[in-house]
Point group: C2
Chain length 211, copies 2
DNA sequence: GTTTAATTTAAACAATTGTTTAACTTTGCG
DNA sequence: CGCAAAGTTAAACAATTGTTTAAATTAAAC
């Protein structure tokens, strides 16, 4: 991938994050990236295909690491859950702009291709987590839970935290737009919370027979 | 509020939900609502003020019911949590369009006024739930948990479910855009999952000393 | 060095955007 | 009725949108 093409993708990511897909003009991207307007059509074909390229570029990232974790036979199920929490929290916090585009901007785009692309990515992620949980159940560590909704709680919690930044800036008294201070303060808390939430949720010893 | 004004708000809600704020033109709203283009400026002043009016109209809704629940002295803390889950799930499923606008479209809007409005609404909600949890802690039912993150898990899970409809359509084999079948199938599952998740999370008896 | 392909440019394209204007009709009140 | 306020309309406004064109420049290959 040419360096210029990559630079356009990075600039587009920043702008889509700040102003949304519809709210960002192609001229805006071209000016910020210091390239001629026509270069974007030249490289990507259209604004929408630029977005698709961005998603494909970033989304492949987590798949490899997640796959390794799933197939690792040296870790017990609870450890895998803990690492899963670390993996997702770090990934989402480190690429928070892209994650924000995925969760809040992409769903607003009408294109069927984009919707299909997103669904595929989510399905692959869900499947990997499902394998970790069912493995834990087979080994007798985890009890019977609704796996899809458990995944929804993991992803939903992290997403809620990253997409409600202005709220948590206020709550935790962090100065505005200081993303680094935010991550440093929230990420460890979030990891602890999720690990503890999932431990009591999954542990067969805390089964109350409600389900 | 005049009937026509209300009708414009309902139409705008539908369109903002489908295509986002930037993706919806004022002409689009006017045509769909069968009113003249200029009527929207006449009634609301601008497109952005129309959005503000929509948020203020819908957001006040849950506050009253939530307040009642918090101050109800006949319910024990676990019952309050269960009712809270029912309340939010029903509210979000019944007004899923508005909720989707709140969570996925509003954050993309640059306006400081809109951002402030959203933060205020969320703070009020957070505060009510905080009161329920601290009450349960004082009475010795709940253990020490991170309240902000617990709220994030509740809201995040529900939001994740409502905003990933296409994914769950596929998983549960529901025909596309059959929102009613979706709600009927998912809402009870979601309530059970959240109640069970929160019970083991909050119950002082399942304290593992991790926090 | 010549030629072919890839890259880059400014300009123009038609379409759509949010908002305003000024003229018109309807409504409500004395 | 008479008249002022509220409601409604079509038309025009300037600005911006995504994309295309055709000419100019650079790079690569022979």
């Amino acid at each position: 991938m040419s360096e210029k093409r990559l630079h356009i993708l990075e600039v587009a990511e920043q702008l889509f994050y700040e102003k949304g897909f519809e709210g960002t003009s192609v001229r805006d991207i071209a000016n910020t990236a210091s390239v001629n307007l026509a270069m974007i059509s030249y490289y990507f074909g259209s604004k929408e295909k630029l977005l698709t390229a961005l998603v494909e570029w970033r989304a492949g990232y987590i798949q490899g690491v997640l796959n390794e974790l799933v197939t690792d036979e040296t870790l017990d199920p609870f450890e895998k859950i803990d690492r899963l929490v670390n993996l997702y929290t770090d990934k989402i916090f480190n690429h928070s702009r892209f994650h924000c585009i995925m969760t809040t901007h992409l769903p607003t785009i009408q294109s069927e291709k984009i919707k299909q692309l997103m669904t595929d990515i989510k399905l692959r992620n869900l499947d990997n987590i499902r394998r970790i949980i069912t493995e834990g159940q087979k080994k007798g560590f985890f009890r019977k839970v609704d796996i899809e909704l458990t995944v929804a709680s993991i992803m939903g919690t992290i997403t809620h935290i990253t997409s409600s930044k202005p709220l948590y800036y206020k709550i935790y008294g962090i100065e505005r737009n200081n993303a680094e201070a935010y991550n440093k303060k929230i990420a460890p808390k979030l990891k602890t919370h999720l690990k503890q939430l999932l431990r009591t949720h999954l542990d067969i010893k805390s089964d109350t027979g409600m389900l």
